[in-house]
């Protein structure tokens, strides 16, 4: 727990420094012409406060005893990591193969392999979700989801509904 606390505090300090570096592209000081701070001032000084507060958290953690409580539980960490990987893989697949392939694949993985549910339930969810998404987003809201290389397959459907 203590180690994780320190790592997160350091990560926030690094992030603040990165924000500050970016913020200096615009004037961070008092702009004499308009009478007020420049465009970079707000992000710069707030990032500095963030850096100092995270630094305070880090320094404070040095004085604390090790609680012996671990940040992650082994079994749980494995399931969290596998869900995160599946999520990132699905998002990466959407522009290539389209939402109508990536999302049913994700559903299949989650319900059948991760959740160990029956084939029937898996089938209903993996096939029902894209149908719902198509009618809700594309037909009703006219928001086209990315389709990647499956785009040509949708031309007959477009002709039917638009």
């Amino acid at each position: 727990m203590l180690v994780a606390d320190r790592v997160i505090a350091i990560a926030i300090m690094a992030l603040s420094a990165y924000f500050m570096w970016h913020a200096t592209e615009l004037p961070i000081g008092w702009n004499g012409m308009t009478g007020g701070p420049g465009g970079g001032a707000f992000p710069f000084w707030l990032s500095l406060v963030m850096l100092l507060a995270a630094g305070g958290i880090f320094v404070r953690s040095l004085g604390e005893d090790h609680g012996g409580q671990s940040f992650f539980d082994g079994v749980m960490l494995k399931s969290v990591i596998s869900v995160v990987i599946a999520l990132f893989a699905t998002i990466a697949l959407i522009p290539v193969a389209g939402a109508y392939i990536a999302i049913p694949l994700f559903m299949f993985w989650y319900v059948r392999i991760f959740g160990r549910h029956s084939w029937f339930l898996t089938g209903c969810l993996a096939l029902g979700t894209p149908v719902f998404l198509f009618f809700f987003f594309e037909v009703t809201l006219k928001i086209l989801l990315p389709k990647g290389f499956t785009e040509p397959l949708f031309f007959p459907l477009y002709a039917m509904f638009f």
Binding site: F19, E25, G36, G40, L46, M50, M76, Y110, H117, T129
Partner: protein, 505 residues
């Protein structure tokens, strides 16, 4: 009298068939979302917001408010039947609701929770109606200086009253504010904080992306570790006999319920406090003023009624500053505010003048939402008992898909979907390390207003910083903000002081 006339006009809007249907739909969806362990009003509103493009903007807000209300009612269902609060706001309901269920009085406890929620919701909407116009009139006198001071005060309430680690709260407020500055500088129009020169950052980071990431993906990751095994659902049957017994029992609790409503309403108005502390406070007061305090925690119906009135009243209370001042009183209302801005309805006093139909339609829909919620809640109890048996993995898969598609829909950019995934993982880690997430979301929503009002004031006053203190209203807010800011320091010193005195005694 004016208020009554306006409210009557409002009912003409909210009782239209479309809006009535929307209220019923929203309340039912909210009840289910609230009843699911791990998902509360804020998660529900974040996930459903992108789907509300399907109805006109004013109806969309009514839908979201109905979901907010329904989720507040629904939280009690899993507190009673599973012993796991459906949302953090229903924690206090488990204290007596769970023992009641174990004694075979689950039906009575559910009725008590629904009726108490109704009383709390209705009394607080009456208070809301009375306070809305005076507060909006007061807010008409606000200039940029007052706006800045008010936002500053809202943030310092997190430091002074939030109860979380002070340094971690400050980090989260600053992070939210810095993320809100990404995009184009509002005064000079120059790009800033365009990380990696990605075009997606030019339009800034939408509050919706952060909210879906943190409250959708992050929440699922967080709940993965707690809900691996399916919890035991206590069976509950509702008969007419139980219903009348419940009504009679509730009739004796008017003092507790009205106290809970007032307390909840006023605590709910504070951005840092809200429904969870209000419910805990109401529970504490009910126990200490009770003639039989020893029966609390062992299945006393009063211990269910008190927190349920308070958390519903608090949700109404948090809507008041959002609608009249443009300062949300809770993370959920911050999302409502973000949604309203997205649809071109700028919350604040001008809304009462420019869009009275919308404002009073929304307020009157809160009355109808309460009636719908209590009826649907009691009628659908068997359905909730069945729904709570739904495997968690199925719920997770559906929520994640809704997050991906819902994140894509408003902007139609994959950039936002990647950000959602990133914020989800970051939010999960930060939450595990006890960083509060509410100030982060509030800061991202209020950041543009805070920076704009700060710089506008300084430009108008030719760089005179004292302008914030010289104006009486803004000076008062700044003084209060300073007070909230030093409050943890005072508490710390007093604790340290008493510790050093102790050995001498």
């Amino acid at each position: 009298m004016d208020t009554l006339a306006l409210l009557a006009d409002g009912f003409a809007t909210s009782l239209s068939p479309l809006n009535l249907m929307i209220v019923i739909l929203g309340v039912t969806a909210g009840l289910f979302i609230g009843a699911m362990p791990g998902l509360g009003s804020v998660n529900g509103v974040a996930i459903v917001l992108p789907l509300t493009f399907i109805v006109p903007p004013s109806s969309a807000i009514i839908l979201l408010a109905a979901i907010y209300y329904g989720a507040m009612y629904g939280g009690a269902i899993s507190s009673i039947l599973l012993g796991i609060p459906g949302a953090s706001t229903a924690v206090a309901t488990t204290f007596d609701g769970r023992p009641m269920a174990q004694q075979g009085k689950a039906g009575l406890a559910l009725i008590a929770a629904a009726v108490a929620s109704f009383i709390g919701g209705t009394l607080s909407v009456v208070l809301f109606t009375l306070f809305a116009v005076p507060l909006a009139d007061l807010a008409l006198a606000f200039g940029p200086a007052e706006e800045f001071a008010l936002v500053l005060m809202a943030f310092t309430t997190f430091v002074g009253l939030g109860g979380d680690d002070v340094l971690k709260t400050i980090v989260m407020i600053c992070l939210g504010l810095v993320l809100s500055t990404v995009g184009l500088d509002l005064i000079s129009g120059q790009p800033r904080l365009i990380f990696g020169d990605l075009p997606g950052f030019f339009s800034g980071i939408s509050f919706l992306v952060l909210a879906i990431g943190v409250y959708g993906i992050g929440e699922i990751l967080y709940t993965l570790e707690t809900s691996r095994t399916a919890p035991q659902v206590t069976p509950a049957r509702i008969t007419l006999k139980e219903l009348s017994a419940g009504m009679r029992a509730m009739n004796r609790l008017w003092k507790t319920m009205s106290l809970g409503s007032f307390l909840g309403f006023f605590v709910g108005m504070l951005p840092a406090a809200g429904a969870t502390p209000a419910a805990l406070m109401a529970y504490g007061i009910a126990r200490s003023t009770s003639k039989e305090p020893h029966t609390f925690g062992k299945g006393n119906i009063e211990g269910v009624a008190a927190p349920e009135t308070a958390n519903n009243a608090a949700s109404t209370g948090s809507l008041l500053p959002m609608l009249t001042l443009g300062i949300p009183g809770s993370p959920t209302t911050a999302l409502l505010l973000g949604g309203m801005v997205m649809w071109g309805l700028m919350p604040g006093p001008m809304l009462f003048i420019e869009q009275p139909d919308f404002v009073w339609g929304l307020i009157s829909s809160l009355y109808t939402a309460n009636f719908a919620a209590v009826a649907i809640n009691i009628a659908l109890i068997p359905l909730f008992v069945w729904a709570l048996r739904m495997p968690f993995t199925v719920l997770c898969a559906i929520v994640i898909v809704l997050c991906i598609v819902g994140g894509f829909a408003p902007s139609q950019k994959m950039h936002d979907v990647w950000l959602i995934a990133g914020f989800g993982v970051a939010g999960y880690l930060l939450r595990k390390a006890d960083y509060p997430l509410a100030p982060l979301v509030l800061a991202l929503v209020l950041g543009p207003l805070m920076e704009k009002s700060f710089r506008q004031t300084l430009i108008a006053e030719q760089g005179n910083v004292l302008a914030f203190i010289e104006r009486p209203l803004s000076g008062t807010f700044i003084a209060l903000a300073a007070l909230f800011f030093v409050l943890p320091l005072v508490k710390y010193l007093r604790k340290g002081g008493s510790r050093s005195i102790a050995p001498a005694e």
